[in-house]
């Protein structure tokens, strides 16, 4: 680290210099991120069990997966959860962002307050909602009983009827702020003059939204949709705290399934195989995202 940065050095030297500066991050990234990742992908093709030998088993894990009822159920609930949470957070986040972009009074206060759920550690989000749903002391039961809407307390998180809606309400709650914030930032980049011109042409509020806001927000929408899809599909902490995957595996999202396979039953190879399938699914969505993005860029 003794030489100075000047643009007159030959390229080879500059590469070496840069590498020296990058070394402090490259070594830990290799060790903690790159190597484990490559090994993790490989373990998905082995029959490795905790404490046993690692033996290559080809596509065996994936053959088992095809007939694994629990795997399909967890993928099913994973899709249900990801689709509904993503759709609701995008829809509700967009409406909130539009409202916060109207130049109403108190907008800056509203914006700060809306961020509160995001400021909480994921574990606390889970604990809070667990308390709200609690059968004996939870706010939800107490209020519904007081208002006469239910007669007896409902055990929301262990009921087959209510467990999925319950985790979705809690999940959407934590994700709205992020979506609204991104949309709000995007709305601020749309020039006011476009709306003024449309008003001169006699366009009403809905038409302005349909023909100006929506098309210009499309790239940001695509980005938020893909990122949310990734985050929601990989979700773990919140649902783990709320239900641990219950009742009867009803809310066992893919990450919870993989976690249980690896750390409860010791089927590490199989857990990694589930991880590989998840990467495959997420990659397909990323492909979708990049394609939309590229198409927008080409049109510009």
């Amino acid at each position: 680290m003794s030489s100075t940065p000047t643009s007159t050095l030959p390229p080879k030297n500059r590469n070496l210099e840069q590498l020296q500066l990058l070394l402090p991050i490259l070594v830990p990234v290799m060790l903690i991120s790159l190597v484990p990742l490559i090994r993790g992908i490989y373990i998905g093709f082995t029959n490795y069990e905790l404490g046993g030998q690692i033996e290559f088993s080809g596509l065996e894990n994936y053959r088992i997966m095809l007939h694994d009822r629990f795997f399909w159920r967890s993928m099913g609930v994973g899709f249900l959860w990801t689709t509904i949470v993503t759709a609701l957070q995008i829809g509700l986040g967009m409406i909130l962002a539009l409202l916060l972009n109207q130049g109403l009074r108190f907008t800056s206060v509203y914006t700060v307050l809306m961020l509160v759920p995001w400021a909480m550690p994921p574990i606390v989000r889970g604990l809070i909602w667990r308390q709200i749903y609690s059968p004996d002391t939870g706010a939800l039961n107490l209020i519904l009983i007081q208002w006469g809407m239910i007669q007896a307390p409902i055990n929301w998180l262990t009921s087959f009827e209510w467990a999925i809606p319950a985790i979705i309400v809690a999940g959407v709650w934590g994700e709205i702020p992020k979506a609204a914030l991104f949309f709000l930032a995007g709305l601020k980049t749309i020039p006011e003059s476009l709306y003024e011109a449309a008003e001169l042409d006699g366009a009403n509020g809905f038409r302005k939204f349909r023909h100006i806001t929506l098309p210009l927000m499309k790239p940001i929408m695509a980005a938020v949709v893909s990122l949310s899809f990734m985050w929601n599909f990989n979700a773990f902490g919140l649902v783990w705290i709320l239900t641990q995957g219950g009742p009867g595996g009803l809310t066992r999202l893919p990450m919870l399934a993989a976690y249980e396979e690896a750390f409860r039953y010791g089927y590490v190879g199989y857990a990694a195989a589930i991880g590989n399938v998840m990467v495959l699914i997420i990659s397909l969505f990323l492909f979708f995202y990049l394609r939309v993005q590229l198409r927008e860029r080409l049109e510009d």
Binding site: M1, T4, P5, T6, N15, E17, Q18, L21, L22, P24, I25, P28, I32, L34, V35, P36, L37, R39, G40, L96, L99, L100, L104, S108, Y110, T111, V112, L113, M114, L115, V116, P117, A119, P121, P122, I123, R125, I128, R130, Q131, I132, S134, D136, T137, A139, L142, Q146, L181, F182, A185, K188, T189, F236, I241, M255, A262, A271, I274, M278, V279
Partner: protein, 285 residues
């Protein structure tokens, strides 16, 4: 459209009030859980179990906060989280600074590889990295140790911190460094003595971000740490709700609120950064 001015005024007034009402409905949904938690943390245990919903406690009590602070394991876990958060954020900034500098000032083919890696590493679910990482750390005797957890968090935070610092280094004129080089400063001196002081706002934000990420993180801590003595706060909070959890609603609410305070401070400090400029620029870019 009506032609009477008062009708138009009324319509606008109704529309504005309607929008305020919808925003307030959102805020009830978004804020209720936190407010309920704070309210619970100040209620007496009999009131929590009284079965009567009330927002303002009939008797305010600080007993649950005292319980939390007297609970050895919970207190220990707060200290562990503080320790891990502080060390992680200092290390991540110190090693990311030269790297961010190199990525900004040297335009070589290495940049693309590093940036490409930063982006693609985001798609992989933690479970895929977790198992081999556990094996690697075990062979280094770093499982069930706070040092191992710090190492993991440092790597976890590098992408964001790099991105953040790089954006700010771009704004610093190169002439400043050239002048220092002529005066005989070496590269280390340039980075830590000239660049670093100019980057204080970005470094502050990075330190806070890295601290909060490790303060909040649950999954890696859950898997990597086995001894109760080493638990971080999120793991201890999860354990707190175990079998006897139901009887400890009050202390749990108090501990949860305490765990939220650092993030709320961060958001208050970074509020301007969130609502203005930077994010807009990022979205636009």
């Amino acid at each position: 459209m009506t032609s009477i001015p008062s009708g138009k005024f009324l319509k606008k007034w109704l529309l504005t009030s309607g929008m305020h009402l919808i925003i307030l409905a959102y805020l009830v949904y978004l804020l209720f859980p936190l407010l309920w938690m704070i309210s619970t943390s100040f209620k007496t245990t009999p009131e929590i179990y009284s079965g009567i919903p009330s927002f303002i406690p009939r008797i305010f009590t600080g007993e649950h906060y005292l319980t939390v602070l007297q609970e050895d394991r919970l207190l220990k876990s707060i200290l562990n989280s503080l320790y891990v958060g502080c060390i992680t954020s200092v290390i991540v900034v110190l090693i990311s600074l030269p790297a961010a500098y190199a990525l900004t000032r040297y335009k070589t083919s290495i940049n693309k590889a590093v940036m490409g890696w930063i982006l693609t590493s985001q798609i992989f679910p933690a479970i895929l990295i977790m198992i081999p990482l556990y094996l690697i750390l075990r062979s280094l005797h770093l499982t069930d140790s706070l040092a191992g957890l710090v190492l993991v968090y440092v790597v976890w935070d590098i992408p964001f911190v790099l991105w953040m610092l790089q954006g700010y280094i771009k704004e610093i004129p190169v002439e400043l460094e050239e002048a220092a080089a002529i005066d005989g400063a070496n590269q280390g001196q340039i980075i830590y003595k000239i660049i670093m002081p100019l980057l204080l706002p970005a470094i502050g934000a990075s330190v806070m971000f890295a601290f909060i990420t490790s303060w909040n993180e649950f999954f890696f801590a859950l898997v990597l740490l086995k001894s109760p003595d080493l638990s971080t706060l999120p793991v201890e909070l999860a354990r707190f709700t175990g079998i006897e959890g139901a009887a400890r609603t009050g202390p749990l609410a108090a501990a949860s609120f305490m765990a939220t305070i650092p993030s709320i401070i961060l958001f208050a400090v970074l509020r301007k950064w969130f609502t203005k400029g930077t994010l807009q620029g990022a979205v636009k870019g």
